[in-house]
Symmetry: C2
Subunit: 211 residues, 2 copies
DNA sequence: GTCTATAGCCAGATAGAC
DNA sequence: GTCTATCTGGCTATAGAC
């Protein structure tokens, strides 16, 4: 571990820069709309050099997804350090974080239908491992919250999990952001409310504040 | 109006067939993944013939969107015939319908980010008129439901409107459908519940039945 | 309006020198 | 590993005969 450091570090830094560019462009334009030339130009290297690091456009997107999943895992582990917080609040914190990432233009958005991309991701152990790690950890909170009656026990757990994932790339947020009528905080408050309390709103609950 | 009928009818029927194919393929694979060749093959005509009816791939997608918006308008007008039904129930009926259309594989899904498609649609009066008609009619119900306290008055009306639109193409539904664990009716019931009552569920409300 | 054939373009991926 | 230059395939759109 003591040797090989410098050149490797440079490479690692370059890969980080690549992933950052891909991540941002993916959030901005989506997988189908970006081109590899564009990514290369954004990073400031030649396209052929990109292909030395990642062997396809799909792998580039996969790397961005892996990174965001790792950020999510880091957040979850941080949240777990306070075991007194009710599961529902942990889930709400995760949802709030995904919305903040979206607003920051850092949430890569992939088309659900692109089949070559899908199969690349499903065949990537690095991706699947992290996806399952996130799912398991959220799944535990979901079960706990349902037992405590904080999340509707009539909902199948997958429904809750998929809904949380889906709200992490919900087009409603970008529409509201583009509308420019509300502050970022207000947008997040309203979307968290629709997510957890529904359009009808929860009669007994305070809607404001409660960071 | 009495003349010109037959040949025109044949053309109209062909255009309907084209739109049906586009609509189905759009629901199945999404705009970016389908090719005009594929549409032509599905309809059973040559690609060049398609371009006699619609002058671009974007216009094809626009025609499909116009048709689904017209179906929505027809539904809304039908629902309006019973003025005794509370606004919230009207909105729920519309949401239920969009989910049924999704499950039937008839909800075209367009990428939110494709800019050439976006500008084609925004420049199409036929599309924009219908989109605004739907928005206005739903908007009236939303305002009414908020006044009656059936929809959370703290939510900006656009949030409610956008959320309903977004639930019409929510990936959660196709994920659950692909999972194969639940009946179509059950999926719709759960998603309507998460949409209107949130993940937490509404304490006072019955969740089952109520078609 | 319908077809076959093709133009024209663009983007993903690679060759080969350094 | 990085670059420039190029290949290759596929896709939108059109030409031109019927």
């Amino acid at each position: 571990m003591a040797r090989i450091p410098f050149r490797q570090q440079v490479l690692q830094a370059r890969e980080d820069a690549i992933i950052s560019s891909v991540n941002r462009l993916l959030a901005l334009k989506g997988f189908d709309s970006i081109t590899v030339d564009e990514v290369a130009a954004d990073v400031g290297i030649a396209k052929a050099s990109l292909y030395k690091h990642f062997k396809s456009k799909e792998e580039l997107a996969g790397a961005a997804m892996i990174r965001v999943l790792e950020r999510a895992l880091a957040l979850i582990d941080t949240l777990k350090q306070d075991p007194k917080i009710p599961a529902i609040e942990q889930l709400r914190s995760v949802a709030r974080w995904t919305m903040q990432v979206q607003l920051a233009g850092e949430m890569p958005s992939l088309p659900a239908q692109n089949s070559t991309l899908r199969s690349t991701l499903m065949n990537s152990a690095a991706y699947m491992d992290r996806l399952m790690a996130v799912s398991d950890k959220l799944g535990a909170w979901i079960t706990e919250a349902q037992s405590a009656g904080q999340v509707d026990p009539a909902l199948a757990p997958e429904v809750v999990l998929y809904t949380l994932f889906a709200r992490a790339c919900d087009p409603v947020l970008s529409l509201l952001k583009a509308g420019g009528q509300h502050s970022d905080e207000h947008i997040i408050d309203m979307l968290l409310s629709t997510c957890f309390n529904g359009l009808s709103g929860a009669p007994g609950e305070p809607r404001k504040g409660a960071r």
